[in-house]
Symmetry: C2
Subunit: 119 residues, 2 copies
């Protein structure tokens, strides 16, 4: 699994409508979106984002997701390699939190131009 390059909060490219997306930028953006385009991974992000302390223990995830521990571990790796989650190990437990700005960096290029307001 090749980690995605991730400079926090820096979008890979300009908004789609501004100029035609180049091949490399398209590849980069698609790679990030692929990391998000899975139900289990979206739910993991949501569980982390909605958690009281902004972080969640791996041990809390398999049950609500209905997935085995190895599968959850795999999804966490994908999200971490893509730069959306940060891992901290405390004792035997591993805790994950959102990397600030990482989600916004992906959605920014997808933002539509503001509509012209009729007079």
């Amino acid at each position: 699994m090749i980690p995605v390059a991730t400079i926090q909060g820096e979008p890979c490219c300009a908004p789609l409508a501004e100029s035609p997306l180049g091949a490399d930028d398209a590849e980069t953006l698609a790679r990030s979106l692929k990391a998000l385009a899975d139900p289990a991974r979206l739910r993991i992000l949501s569980l982390v984002a909605a958690s009281a302390d902004g972080e969640i223990c791996v041990c809390e995830l398999p049950a609500p997701l209905g997935l085995t521990q190895p599968t959850v571990s795999h999804h966490l790796k994908v999200l971490t390699d893509a730069g959306f989650l940060a891992r901290e190990k405390r004792g035997t437990w591993a805790w994950f939190r959102l990397v600030p700005g990482a989600l916004d960096a992906v959605t920014r290029p997808l933002a539509e131009p503001v509509e012209a307001v009729p007079a």
Copy 2:
């Protein structure tokens, strides 16, 4: 290929941080993101969005993308079924334009909460 349900501009779900994403909403959101998570499809969206008249002819796409006509047609179908593009046939040609609000409906649930500003 099963078309994605699409009521324009209506996001499938609340922001991720607001409440844990349910299984069905996660499936819906993931399906939309999967439609976007491909370099060729992102470039198609960008070519349409950046075009002067807001629409583009299928015939203009294979060359800049370096893909065959059937492959381009396949990607256009994926984007149309997912509700991101609208197709209009004029004569022998087919024209595509963005469905307003469709992209925003996908990115809205991914928006991060605003940071608390320190005093």
